[in-house]
């Protein structure tokens, strides 16, 4: 029944037209759908459709990725206030830009999509040390550490993902905490994530959220 709304919502997102997307959501609310329906039957299926689209068409542009995440996160945040009871969260991720890296767009796209998929996101910001990633993941009981690196040296350097992997191993956390990476260097070399000790990667921020949810499901009972 929400198919038409999903289509109209995604058409607006595809055109990076936030206002029209919000109008679609408001129209659905006015027509009697609950906040839970909006999130679980409109926003999440729409994000999943967009993930599939972006995966099929790697030419989907960065603005579309950004708007997919921003609109979905905004709508979800507003709808959560109207939920009759708090939703069950899928899991928790700590996310940040690698040590020495000050780029924030990638993690913002990933975070937006994750929030709309009912994942708790703990954003550690930029230039995050390996120790801080691991300490935060333990303290927050996160299932996944997600590291964004937009520069080659922050992706492959010894203070980035490689060190997080070493710390997870040293502290016996590898079964409890998985490691995901993303960012421009990984797009150029799809095998690079293995070389830096990560469990998963994705070519774009939207599908990174999907990869992270899969990792959460691997470790969460």
């Amino acid at each position: 029944m929400l198919e038409a709304y999903i289509q109209a919502y995604n058409d607006a997102v595809f055109e990076t037209d936030k206002q029209t997307a919000l109008n679609v959501v408001n129209q659905a609310l006015q027509n009697g759908f609950s906040a839970e329906d909006i999130v679980f039957k409109l926003v999440i299926p729409a994000v999943e459709q967009m993930m599939a689209f972006i995966e099929r068409d790697p030419d989907a542009n960065l603005a579309q990725h950004f708007m997919t995440a921003q609109i979905a996160a905004d709508v979800t945040e507003k709808m959560l206030e109207k939920f009759s009871k708090p939703p069950e969260m899928v899991g928790r991720v700590v996310i940040g830009a690698a040590y020495g890296d000050l780029h924030s767009l990638g993690k913002r796209i990933v975070s937006g999509c994750l929030k709309s998929l009912m994942v708790d996101v703990v954003d550690l910001g930029c230039n995050v040390s390996a120790e801080r990633f691991v300490d935060a993941a333990v303290a927050e009981q996160a299932q996944v550490i997600a590291i964004s690196a937009m520069m080659v040296h922050t992706a492959i350097g010894e203070n980035g993902s490689l060190k997080v992997r070493a710390l997870l191993k040293e502290r016996g956390l590898e079964d409890r905490i998985k490691l995901a990476v993303g960012g421009a260097p990984y797009r150029f070399d799809p095998e690079l994530y293995l070389k830096v000790g990560a469990d998963a990667w994705a070519a774009d921020g939207v599908n990174a959220a999907k990869a992270i949810v899969e990792l959460i499901r691997e470790v969460k009972p």
């Binding site: 055109e15 990076t16 542009n61 520069m151 040296h153 150029f188 070399d189």
Partner: protein
């Protein structure tokens, strides 16, 4: 023929012994002259010395006056750059921290008088004196629609660009375009003869084709209006842009296109034809882990696609420091071998 003549021959389709071969060695310079990055990049003479030494050792055609992209932010008031021993310097202090800062943001009346410009001016002066008559001297200038990303962060800029407030967005774009105009004129005057116009927002990979046409192209036109497109190279920061090549030809008159490694080179060659110069680039991130043999095979593949019919240049991205020297040497040896017309 000198490298500059070989480049000119590739641009107009006249005979030459080989295709031009560009290799962008930027971060390698500090190691070359044995200085820590921060000291190296503050010394224009050191940057020039490193460029001259590396060009002599490896034999590629071009030299660079670019220190690092964050220099533009420094000219515009950035007070902190995060230097790294193993990679590219990074802007650590955003000039525009909130939308309120846009009104206060000012372009210097003469950027060549700023402290941050001095090493660039010094470097260019040395390079122009030493090899200006014989070699391509590359300079880098960020388009007005992309410059805000290093002033306020890419995510904040993407948000302002797409969602507004549009009066503020346009005010910032106008200021950035004014800066671009000053900068490209200063680079030309100081001796740069290859002007890399970095315009990632001019790629449909960043924003849709319609947004490129309506939201980016008018600003690119404004950027380039005073000095024209002579010597200008269209570059979208390794993002693919085949879809807008015809548009850029028609609207901006740029005739040299520096593709990213993931672009469809055969398609770009056919789109550009004999109207201009197409640069095919190697994936230099994969070069970090390739063997010399793999590097050679990839150079051969690229040149076999790009060279037939001429109007072709072989180039690199920004060559990460982690690339083994053996791969740099093999890449260049292969480029000269397969790029030969003799």
């Amino acid at each position: 023929m000198t490298p500059l003549q070989i480049l000119a021959a590739a641009q107009d389709g006249s005979p030459a012994p080989r295709i031009p071969v560009f290799c962008n060695l930027l971060d390698q310079g500090a190691r070359e002259v044995g200085l820590p990055p921060q000291r190296y990049f503050s010394d224009g003479a050191a940057v020039a010395e490193a460029q001259l030494r590396m060009q002599k050792r490896y034999g590629h055609d071009n030299l660079w006056s670019l220190h690092y992209v964050g220099k533009e932010a420094e000219i515009l008031g950035c007070r902190e750059i995060l230097f790294a021993a193993d990679g590219t310097p990074n802007v650590a202090d955003l000039v525009i921290k909130s939308l309120d800062d846009i009104a206060k943001f000012e372009i210097p009346a003469d950027i060549t008088q700023t402290e941050a410009w001095q090493p660039i001016g010094e470097c260019l002066s040395i390079l122009a004196g030493e090899v200006g008559a014989t070699h391509p001297i590359c300079a880098y200038a960020t388009a007005s629609t992309t410059l805000p990303a290093i002033l306020m962060g890419m995510d904040k800029w993407m948000e302002l660009f797409l969602l507004g407030p549009f009066d503020l967005r346009d005010e910032l774009l106008r200021k950035c375009s004014d800066f671009f105009r000053q900068q490209i004129a200063a680079l030309r005057a100081a001796g740069a003869n290859v002007l890399v116009y970095s315009s990632p927002f001019g790629s449909p990979y960043f924003v849709g084709r319609r947004q490129v046409e309506t939201g980016v192209l008018p600003w690119m036109r404004r950027d380039l209006a005073p000095g024209g497109s002579d010597g200008v190279v269209y570059y979208c920061g390794t993002a693919p842009f085949n879809e807008v090549i015809d548009l850029v030809f028609a609207e901006l008159g740029i005739t040299t296109y520096y593709l990213g490694p993931q672009a469809d080179l055969a398609e770009a060659k056919s789109l550009i034809g004999d109207r201009g110069l197409c640069c095919g680039t190697i994936d230099d991130i994969r070069m970090i882990h390739w063997t010399p043999e793999q590097t050679r095979a990839e150079v051969k593949r690229i040149i076999e696609i790009g060279k037939p019919g001429g109007f072709f240049l072989f180039g690199t991205g920004v060559m990460p420091l982690a690339i083994p020297e053996a791969n740099i040497r093999e890449m260049l040896a292969a480029a000269f071998e397969y790029g030969s017309w003799q």
